[in-house]
């Protein structure tokens, strides 16, 4: 995936990478490291984004927020959002809301490790996918110690 991302973005000045807390940051850390090794001439810009305050199910349960750290301007840049699992699309929708409060990116792309394609609840799809899996709606797919784990119901 890092190779694909690197090929698509030869000039790292125009692109920033943002991992979504918490799984997306774990995946993002590795991807950014790999991209940096492919393109040593330019520094990869990498931030972490937390969607806790933007969840649409906030009234059901109050969650403790994670750290948010976007130490660069996203105005007119291509932003590559990175997450571990793409399921209903609600997290990505919230992440887009967060992002737009930081500025107006030229373009937003989505990179996910696992795509559970058949369960989408919003019109959202990924540009870079590690693996697509077929799951039941009640199954849980999680990233545990950098391993993708399927918990079947």
């Amino acid at each position: 995936m890092a190779k694909k991302l690197s090929d698509a973005h030869p000039d790292l000045n125009d692109v920033v990478f943002v991992g979504i807390q918490q799984g997306g940051v774990v995946v993002g850390n590795d991807i950014v490291l790999a991209i940096q090794q492919i393109n040593r001439a330019q520094k990869v810009q990498y931030g972490q984004l937390d969607i806790t305050f933007y969840r649409d199910d906030i009234r059901k349960e109050i969650l403790t927020p994670d750290t948010m750290n976007i130490p660069f301007a996203i105005e007119n840049k291509t932003v590559v959002l990175i997450d571990d699992v793409l399921f209903t699309g609600r997290t990505i929708k919230a992440a887009l809301d967060v992002l737009l409060d930081y500025g107006r990116p030229a373009k937003v792309e989505l990179c996910v490790l696992v795509d559970r394609k058949e369960h989408r609840q919003f019109p959202i799809q990924a540009d870079y996918v590690g693996v697509t899996v077929e799951t039941k709606k009640d199954d849980k797919v999680k990233l545990i110690n950098k391993e993708v784990v399927l918990i079947a119901r």
Partner: protein
């Protein structure tokens, strides 16, 4: 993680974990306040009434701003311009407001225990914004947040609280909080303004000597002399108070270290603190005000979800 309580009535009934959770959540909200768009949709559709039976500028603005930054709907109530001046009771006023579907009540009242009374009678979450001479919990939290931000930790930190301890809800909330978080506290002021029971009841040191206290502490929280209580003659004159307990530049320069100066506002310049101290780089008075919004956002956010 959740708070152990559905109201914020005082620091007294919070656990150490509650306090840590509020302070760490406030750090995230402080980040929100640095963004180009300083607003998050967390409390959309939550209605909050700000019920102020006593005058306030800072606290009321700070709560209102915190509510707006969280996208809550707010209504404001000031006792002087309401039916309270026609003799309506507190409970009647609040029940009338609640029947218009309000989720949270932020309340300041001159009677100690007023929010506790209300909490027993109405279903909304209640946040105490200062009750009489009892507590002012969000001030205690924002003071702690500011100390932590400036000096790194609360554990083992030496904090002096100086001035009218007897009538100060700020002092009481600060003491409860700092003791729970492992800080050491010394109160300092004229003997007439320090309750006799305080060192036994709250576990603080008492020192009537200002210079010694300042030499001991890392942080000095200087309280306002409440001019409205001057008819009680607890010290002979403001001038005498200022000479014995006022913080001035010469005094700070005579210390062997640089301490952090705090004040909850409003300042009586030239009484408890001189202008050149209040406006110096040692003072974090305006940072306290800035942090107040983030801390109140954290409290509102953490209390908004519980519907037992």
């Amino acid at each position: 993680m959740q708070l152990s309580t559905r109201h914020l009535l005082g620091i007294k009934n919070l656990t150490k974990e509650d306090i840590s959770l509020i302070l760490s959540t406030a750090e995230q909200f402080k980040e929100v306040l640095q963004r180009p768009v300083k607003k998050v949709p967390s409390l959309r559709d939550v209605t909050i009434v700000n019920l102020f039976y006593e005058n306030s500028t800072r606290t009321r603005f700070s709560f209102e701003l915190a509510e707006k930054r969280l996208s809550a709907d707010t209504i404001n109530f000031a006792a002087s311009s309401s039916s309270a001046s026609k003799g309506e009771t507190l409970l009647d006023t609040v029940n009338n407001i609640l029947s218009m579907k309000v989720d949270m009540v932020v309340m300041r009242h001159s009677a100690s225990g007023a929010p506790h009374f209300l909490a027993q009678h109405i279903p909304a979450a209640i946040i105490n914004a200062g009750d009489g001479i009892n507590e002012h919990p969000t001030q205690g939290l924002l003071d702690a947040f500011s100390i932590k931000e400036k000096t790194g930790t609360l554990e083992g930190r030496k904090v002096a609280i100086i001035g009218d301890i007897m009538h100060s809800r700020v002092a009481q909330s600060n003491i409860y909080l700092l003791k729970k978080m492992g800080a050491e506290v010394t109160v300092c002021g004229p003997p007439t303004l320090i309750p006799k029971y305080i060192s036994g009841a709250l576990g603080v040191n008492v020192n009537y000597n200002l210079k010694e206290t300042l030499e001991w502490c890392d942080v000095a929280n200087v309280l306002r002399i409440q001019l409205e209580r001057q008819n009680q003659v607890l010290f002979s004159s403001l001038r005498e108070y200022s000479l014995a307990y006022g913080i001035n530049r010469n005094l700070l320069d005579s210390l062997h270290k640089e301490i952090v100066i705090m004040h909850p506002g409003p300042i009586n310049r030239g009484v408890e603190i001189d202008s050149d101290v209040a406006d110096s780089k040692q003072s974090i008075i305006l940072q306290q005000v800035e942090n107040g919004v983030a801390v109140r956002m954290a409290v509102l956010y953490l209390l908004s979800g519980r519907k037992d």
